[in-house]
């Protein structure tokens, strides 16, 4: 049930009405209703995975309470429960997401040594959204152990946090300390929340349906047959694919945030104008923010403490491990690992050159120079576009094959299906860019939030019309559903 489908909206309407009617009954009843709706939603995607979600939720609920009981009296025992939680969380993730891949890799290795290993028949169905809800579960026990939150005694509330339907399939990965307190208060129907939520959903649909889904057929046609395309086509496809990735995932995040907002719940932001970043470090601070923050808080920071004796080299090593994990989180494929290594190395380069850069900027008075800023933005974008090809490639060999095509002449571009991009995606990209530019430079020009009601209504009506007229309306799946 994708958010941009009629089925979802029927489900959402059927959820929302009783949800607000339960306002007077109290937050507990609202949470229970939300939990039931969330399980229904998750079960609609794959009912066979409901027991996994329920059992892991119960285990982590119990672990949270056990940690809470021992935090002061027996911190070592509490730490052991925390470790158990992390092991279970990672174990579930490894079993469902990586075990098949690992078995295949070992089989290939053994075969290369001349051993007779039969073709792998190991096949595990990966639960949808597993990377997102296991990270929420682990984050919960880690936060309880750190003493940042109290263990949650209300199982309904905890279950609602884990299974919350707008975010369970593709994030954002909410932290318990921000999310759980919101479930303590009864959420009443609020015109501001409804209108802001709807505007956010509309913008998400625009990004997804008018840009990402319009670009996808062309980039698929290019990357799936890269050997037949020249350098010009590969370069344009790489740039467009990064835009497609962003609008697909940011579009979903906007819709999830909008749906939650309509229910009176604030979900963490996942993107903040990443294409305006002037270096890779800034890019990752604004791209898939909830994942980056999760890994930074629970992996990078402890690692830098562990490696502190190694000085700057310790930070570089922690950075590399951090990014390999971010890459591998996306899936069981060497391309994702290499994606992490690539971004990790770029970030190390940024860190290593930081002092020299600042000195250079000071000397030439470049800090406020727009040309300098845009040059850095474009460079960062292009470096990320290379990373996007790596991310998109089916294998490492495919990535190098695709890159090799860039050197294979720069003749005319492949134009099959490019018309849809020219007529619909390019104007939409322009609108999205202007919106981000206005926000980046804090301009007062507003459309959806204009103080003049006529401008507001007309701009919203035009956007709805544009989405229906130019968007891909067949409910394509989201790229991040595979994680």
């Amino acid at each position: 049930m994708v958010v941009n489908s009629i089925n979802f909206w029927l489900f959402f309407a059927a959820t929302l009405l009783p949800y607000f009617l339960l306002y007077k009954a109290g937050s507990k009843w609202q949470n229970l209703w939300l939990l039931l709706a969330s399980y229904f939603f998750y079960g609609w995607a794959d009912w066979r995975m409901l027991p996994l979600l329920a059992v892991t939720t119960l285990i982590f609920y119990g672990l949270g309470i056990a940690i809470g009981r021992n935090t002061e009296s027996n911190p070592k025992k509490a730490a052991r429960y925390k470790t158990l939680g992390v092991i279970i969380g990672l174990g579930v993730l490894v079993y469902f997401k990586y075990l098949g891949f690992m078995v295949d890799q070992f089989a290939t290795l053994f075969r290369s040594w001349g051993m007779n290993v039969e073709e792998s028949i190991f096949s595990i169905v990966m639960p949808i959204g597993i990377s997102f809800f296991t990270f929420k579960l682990m984050s919960y026990v880690l936060e309880v152990n750190l003493g940042n939150i109290k263990p949650e005694k209300d199982i309904i509330k905890f279950g609602t946090y884990i299974a919350f339907f707008p975010t369970i399939l593709s994030g954002p990965i909410d932290r318990p300390n921000k999310f759980l307190p919101q479930l303590d208060i009864s959420r009443k129907i609020d015109a501001d929340n409804l209108s802001e939520g709807l505007k956010r959903i509309l913008w998400g649909m625009f990004l997804k349906m008018c840009i990402a889904d319009r670009i996808a057929p062309w980039t698929d046609a290019v990357f799936n047959n890269y050997a037949h395309h020249n350098g010009t086509t590969i370069i344009v496809a790489s740039i467009l694919y990064l835009i497609q990735m962003y609008t697909d995932f940011a579009g979903y995040s906007d819709m999830a945030i909008g749906v939650a907002r309509m229910m009176g719940i604030n979900v963490a932001e996942n993107f903040k104008r990443p294409f305006f970043a002037q270096n890779i470090a800034e890019y990752w601070r604004n791209w898939h923010i909830t994942l980056t923050q999760w890994v930074t808080d629970y992996v990078f920071k402890p690692l830098t403490v562990s490696f502190r004796d190694w000085g700057q080299w310790g930070i570089y090593l922690a950075t590399l491990i951090n990014f390999v994990l971010i890459g591998a989180w996306h899936g069981a494929n060497w391309t994702f690992v290499l994606f992490g290594v690539y971004h990790g190395l770029l970030l190390i380069l940024v860190l290593a050159l930081e002092k020299k850069r600042k000195k250079f900027e000071k000397k030439h008075n470049l800090k406020k120079n727009e040309f300098y800023k845009w040059s850095r933005r474009i460079l960062t974008f292009l470096l990320c576009a290379i990373g996007a090809v790596l991310w998109r490639s089916a294998s490492v060999g495919d990535f190098f094959g695709t890159m090799a095509q860039i050197g294979n002449g720069c003749g005319g571009m492949f134009t099959g299906g490019f018309f849809a991009i020219l007529t619909f995606a390019i104007p939409s990209i322009f609108v999205a860019f202007v919106d981000e530019w206005l926000k980046e430079y804090d301009k007062k020009l507003r459309f959806f939030h204009n103080p003049n009601v006529v401008v507001r209504i007309v701009s919203i009506a035009l956007m709805i019309a544009w989405v229906i007229y130019s968007g891909e309306l067949d409910g394509n799946s989201f790229i991040y559903f595979q994680f």
Binding site: I6, F419, L422, F424, A461, A465, I468, Y469, L473, D474
Partner: protein, 286 residues
Amino acid sequence: MAIDLGVGFTHSRIFGNLPDKTSMVSTIYYSLFKKSADVLILGSSTANHHYNSKMMEDSLRMSVYNSGLDGRDMIYFDVVLQSTLERQIPKYVILDISSVHLDGSWISRISDTKLYYGQNVPVSNYYDKETDWQQRLKLCSALYRYNKTFSYLIRVKLDAPNVFNGYAPLVGNRENVDLTYYSNFSLDTKELAHLENIIKICKRNNSILILVQSPQASDNLEFDKWIEEYASEQDISLIKENKNSYYFDNPSLFYDGSHLNSQGADILTKRIIEVIKHKIDNNCNN
């Protein structure tokens, strides 16, 4: 609502007066609303590129229209035939057929006709009877019906005028064609129902239906067997040009693995003309 009405009004005017060009939307428009002929050619890209309508007209002294369009399936062929009947009953219907027209893989392409929902009876009937309530609900909106049609309009402006009554010759040739065989065919019941409807319409109107399998480098043996048995059961002529080694011995007749070039198309067309002439002779003798 006002935008929806405005878009509906302007677009219905524009898409109801398209020039006769080789673009997809023009072909759909002329097949559904304008063209009629004694010999109607139905099919996808193989039909579009393989049947020289001008050569057929000159030889048979009958009007010929090639409604072939890339990536279409049996549902589209049925809709086109029904639409043509409203103007003229064709004497001969040539249906260029292959497994992809019946296995459901191209079924979604019928959505390109949704802009004529409410204007063309067979199109409207298809959506009203064979699609779900969600689709019918969406069709209430003109913005939805004309979704992504703006790019079609640009194509209409850029594409060449249609001078061959639907036939689009391909120029270029192959040095070799590797024949590949496979056996994997699953019949889609919805597609089959539309094939049955085409047969029923032809029988009811005394139109002679001729099925043709065009020469293609990849040959689905399971489908070949199925269509042979089916044509025999239904007592329909089936011309198996996909088994004619002449084409494969002369790869220069191919544009690519799936399509003949204009020289290859002329040879295939002559073969069809012979079959039709033979049928005309038979009818005269009877």
